[in-house]
Amino acid sequence: MGYAVDIFLIAVSAALINNFVLYYFVGICPFIGVSRRVEMALGMGGAVTFVISIASFLSWTITTLVLMPGAPLTRWAAGFFLPPEAAAAVDLTILTYIVYIFVIASSVQFVEMYVRRFYPPLYKSFGVFLPLITTNCAILFACLVIMGHVVGVENPAEAWDLGKALTLGFFGGVGFTIAIVIMAGIREELELCDVPEPFKGAAITLIIGGILAMAFMGFTGVDSGLRAALGGG
């Protein structure tokens, strides 16, 4: 029961309450750039969700097996050169950023090839924003959040397992999709509006993004309420 509640809360938190785009302000680039049409926004949300899930899976696996202090693979490899206590202390967390970027870039490349092969119109409409997922901070952010819950956790029982990491990644992507689709819907309506000349283009888009973010701030605190209601402690 407790685990299911945890998963549920992580999902709701990632998707709505602490929405990546509208609460943490990561992933703004595609949020502004590809939110002109709802179909495009949906496609972008799908691509980001897919990449973020793969990246979460890979980054959790690599962090747990290789990068964190005392990770099994590292301990085994270091055991050839060092005494057991020293081998257990070998710490590769300095590599986290470069490894995450590496993983993200490869998954984006993979997605790009896949989309180009099977959805050419979507590929065309993405344009430069598809390779730009590589530098989409939402994805790196998800990886780093997962790392924060795996590495250096005081109580080992509280460290996240793969299920929680995947939940965060996937629902973070869902939250991104929700945000970008809402934005695209507003922007489609906006094209019919008489926007004053100085606000046209990026300015009005950023203002809408800000108002949207303020609206999402209304979810703040819902997670602790939910936790209390569900009896998760």
């Binding site: 081998a87 070998v90 490869s106 490349q109 090839m113 092969r117 099977f118």
Partner: protein
Amino acid sequence: MVSSAWVTIGLSAGVLLAMAMVLGYVLGWADRKFRVEVDPRVVKVIDVLPGANCGGCGYVGCGEYAEAVVLEHEAVNKCVVGGQRCALDVALIMGVEVGETLPYRPIVHCGAHYEDRLGRHEYRGEPRCSAANLVTGVQACTYGCLGFGDCQQACRFDAIHVVDGLATVDYQSCVGCGACAKACPRNIITITPFKSEQVLAVACSNKDKGRDVMAVCRVGCIGCGACARISSLFRLEDNLSTIDYDAYTPECSLEVMEACKKCPRKRLVFVGIPTPEDRRKARDLEAPDVVEPDFKTTVDDTEWRG
């Protein structure tokens, strides 16, 4: 036994190397699996296109047009920048015959400089035609060129300039992309097929009755119809002489020349690249010896009023 630091360094390198190999293998497999065959002709066509990405052909950029040519059998002579030679190159790649390509060039249908315009008032607003066009009283003629140079700013080829209040096309630099015609809020610039280096044009857009035109402009077409009576090339539409460019031929008949002479306002003028005779004539005219560079052109003249 080696030190712990060296083990960390070695393992870091090992981890990245292992990841590179694994991910490289996966991506290599994916590349082969998901390979998309691009028609090699598309690449070739992109190579011969000028790469200006001006949108003059009606497509977003040169790449889009190249795809349309190869895959959808779009006409090969749509590129206005490359002109006939580019069309020939593309036709060679596609193995098709190229039809006659006429260069399309803009014609500014207004001929009034500042001194010809009546009823001009001081305008202190945003110095753009699109803004000035919204208010009345900037100048009495509601059809003619406003002279704030929206077209000049839209031009990416430095081929249209406001000279003494009138947008003037530099046909030597012009490629005919049509950006100026889209920018003009009064729609006085038309993109016209040039059957020769110079074509005849009506340098006025005023559709009002003769007396009203006289009240606002010293040179505007008054719709007298003299040209239309002499030659069938001209037609009077809404008090404005118009030229039927489908019937227009580069060798103007005597009738047409007669009509040009008869025009009381001298609104039937030839526009285009100057002929050698014109240059010879211009040489005799007085011209300033030194041309001062105008550094203002590189400054963003947007005026922000907070």
